[in-house]
């Protein structure tokens, strides 16, 4: 991976038949990311099905079961690159019942592309997709108004949809500069990689140009440093006899040698003695680094503990309130016990109260006694031990958790801490 190429992670959302797979197939084709054997396979399949055009959606529809049904049923990851940028696309389906898939795909993405069929305009599904982008605090949303070829590339249609969507934005936490509207035809390649001559009234960037000018640093706002201890490295060799390296991934902010740190849960303090990245000693690490640190004093620190800069302590509590999205068939119930995984730390959690089920179309909430698959709700928890967290709003990695079913061990919920 080239050092000078940046990485942009994108989630896509659209309803059935909005042409989402076609859009991704088109991006792959236009960036020459589809190899000849894949293009041949698409030509073959398209012909077998009697289409008179290249069905780019076949480039991404993976599993046999869903190809038979003609729909995508899970999150698929797709990769392409340009000279300047590596892209990862989490392709998530848009059916009503698949909220969990979009939440999953969006959890690892910085950008969301929401597709709208120009003939249908803003529909209930659009509300839901935008609601999830809002819930997950996606940094940037591209609203791709697709199938412009089927509405004669009419600016009026585009403006009407934009106005309808702006009304939605007003109900959300997004600011206008976080949203970009682009009229496209994925099938014909208009405004995807090539500026459309059919829509001279649109003066903005093509979709690809727009995605390329985004900067990862702008998409991941920095906060304070959080270093959850993942694995303790103890070589016990002669050369490294006393070495105790606390390894993990650094989130939120920089950490450097000499920093005064507080260890959680013990609240002991120490100083960063050294930072290691493989066989190099470094002075300072930026967020996202997988490193190992040693401390100036001997301390008791193990997996699941956390190291933060003194003076920047997170909240530590055995009670918390979170917005939950249920991602498993088993409903979340009041009184239910779960394994709560917060980063790499696990504690037991009990559902104290389910306060409400939130309507995913921005129309408020209602009382609920349980949360079923794809439900989103506000839930109060009590934990067996305190965890050290921030609000999801201020620190995504330290403000989110998953719930694991005690009996089946499946991942049943994802939580965003208030």
């Amino acid at each position: 991976m080239s050092e000078n190429r940046k990485l942009i992670k994108i989630a896509t959302a659209g309803s059935v038949d909005d042409g989402k797979s076609t859009l991704i197939g088109r991006l792959l084709y236009d960036t020459k990311s589809l190899t000849t054997d894949k293009i041949e396979a698409i030509e073959r399949s398209s012909k077998q099905r009697g289409y008179d055009y290249l069905d780019f959606s076949l480039a991404t529809d993976g599993l046999v079961a869903e190809r038979e049904q003609g729909i995508t049923i899970d999150v698929a990851h797709i990769y392409f690159n340009t000279e300047k940028t590596n892209f990862i696309v989490a392709d998530t389906p848009g059916h009503v019942e698949y909220t969990r898939n979009m939440v999953t795909g969006a959890s690892t993405s910085q950008v969301a592309i929401i597709l709208i069929d120009a003939r249908k305009g803003v529909i209930e599904q659009t509300y839901r997709h935008f609601f999830i982008a809002n819930l997950l605090r996606i940094s940037h949303v591209v609203v791709a108004i697709n199938k412009m070829d089927l509405v004669d590339y009419d600016e009026e249609v585009y403006l009407k949809i934009k106005a309808d969507f702006d009304a939605l934005v007003a109900k959300s936490d997004f600011t206008e500069d976080q949203i970009t509207f682009i009229p496209v035809s994925a099938l014909k390649g208009e405004n995807i990689a090539r500026k459309s001559e059919k829509m001279p009234w649109y003066v903005g960037n093509t979709l690809l140009d727009h995605l390329e000018v985004l900067e990862p640093a702008d998409l991941e706002p920095s906060s304070v440093a959080r270093f959850p201890v993942q694995y303790v490295i103890r070589p016990k060799t002669e050369a490294w006899h006393d070495f105790r390296g606390f390894s993990g991934m650094l989130y939120g902010g920089n950490l450097k040698v000499g920093d005064e740190v507080t260890l959680l849960p013990s609240l002991n303090t120490s100083t960063i003695k050294s930072i290691h990245y493989f066989d190099q000693e470094i002075q300072e690490a930026a967020p996202g680094s997988s490193i190992a640190v040693t401390l100036a004093t001997e301390v008791d620190l193990s997996r699941g503990d956390m190291l933060v800069k003194s003076g920047e302590l997170p909240r530590s509590d055995k009670r918390l309130t979170a917005t939950i999205c249920q991602v498993n068939n088993k409903p979340l119930r009041i009184g239910g016990k779960y394994i709560l995984q917060h980063g790499v730390n696990r504690v037991m959690a009990k559902v104290d109260q389910i306060e409400s089920r939130i309507h995913t179309d921005f129309t408020g909430m209602e009382e609920a006694v349980q949360l079923k698959l794809n439900d989103i709700g506000r839930v109060h928890f009590r934990l067996s031990k305190p965890i050290h967290f921030d609000s999801y709003h201020s620190n995504k990695s330290n403000g989110s958790f998953i719930l694991i079913d005690e009996a089946e061990y499946d991942t049943v919920s994802v939580g965003f801490i208030e």
Partner: protein, 299 residues
């Protein structure tokens, strides 16, 4: 001393995943084929635990039809890094009557590996197998999880996969289950090659252009060798070739190439219009070849 570390996001994610495997499982193993992806995995594992040694063994399921260059390379790497290597042979599974050797024009031991692998998992009670699979390789892989839970029969149920949110990995399993772990899920073929170049990682010589006795079949270049079934009319000739993926001789096709250095290879990959698995004979058997093999426990 370097001043500020700006992480390579894909590398940092892979190291994070490898450390999770070591922390969450009792008996992990790294599935090592001698190919570039598993060699990359070894480098990432070194980085994850340095200055300690890699805390799990490597397992090579040897079809007996490997390129000798790969086996030589494997043994050298293991010795240099002081790693523990376990080898299990497909030939033994054949001798025990557990699998039957394929015959004829497209015969290969590739799919027979599954039985040998599952037996080794049971023998050593491995609960996590780290593999070098990447999501960009093949359609069915695009939906694979980083931690993919398999049942006692090694089976993959695509409809019953745990959602993976943020970078939180759930490796909780029941007795009898095991997890396939894929730290370089998010890498592309080009990422791997560029990484090998940047890190100056040694790879087997067959990845570089060399003269080899080959024959042409179905538009692909096959190695001419006692292990590879060849019909009389299929004429053997000497060509300058290299391999893009290294598996069993019977299922790995060569490409014509003049690339003798890593720079050349990276250049060819950038320009390439044929996908890596396009040179995998095993994937051409049917449109859903990979998915079908995964369901029965292929890694």
């Amino acid at each position: 001393m370097n001043n500020l570390l700006i992480p390579n996001p894909k590398e940092a994610e892979s190291i994070h995943i490898i450390r999770e495997v070591a922390a969450q499982f009792e008996r992990p193993v790294l599935l090592f084929s001698g190919g570039k992806d598993s060699i990359t995995l070894v480098r990432l594992a070194q980085k994850a635990f340095y200055p300690a040694k890699i805390p799990f063994p490597l397992l090579h399921v040897d079809t007996g039809h490997n390129f000798p260059e790969t086996i030589e390379f494997r043994d050298k790497l293991v010795e240099e890094l002081g790693l523990e290597l376990i080898v299990r042979n497909v030939q033994d599974s054949i001798d025990q009557g557990k699998v039957r050797e394929e015959r004829g024009r497209y015969s290969s031991r590739n799919s027979l590996q599954t039985t040998t692998l599952l037996d080794a998992i049971e023998e050593f009670k491995f609960d996590a197998c780290i593999g070098g699979a990447r999501r960009d390789e093949e359609k069915a892989r695009a939906k694979e999880r980083v931690f993919s839970v398999r049942d006692d029969f090694g089976q993959w149920d695509e409809k019953n996969q745990r959602p993976e949110l943020f970078d939180m990995l759930n490796g909780k399993i029941h007795v009898g289950q095991n997890v396939r772990c894929f730290p370089i899920s998010n890498w592309t073929e080009l990422d791997v090659w560029e990484y090998i170049k940047t890190e100056n990682i040694e790879i087997p010589s067959i990845y570089f252009a060399h003269e080899r006795e080959v024959f042409f079949r179905d538009g692909m270049i096959w190695t001419a060798n006692e292990h590879v079934y060849r019909e009389e009319h299929e004429e053997v000739m000497v060509k300058m070739v290299r391999f893009r993926t290294v598996g069993d001789m019977t299922c790995t096709a060569a490409v014509l190439s003049e690339a003798v250095s890593l720079d050349d290879v990276v250049g060819e990959i950038r320009e390439s219009t044929i996908s890596e698995r396009g040179a995998r004979i095993d994937d051409k058997r049917s449109e859903a070849a990979m998915e079908t093999r995964k369901k029965v426990g292929y890694f």
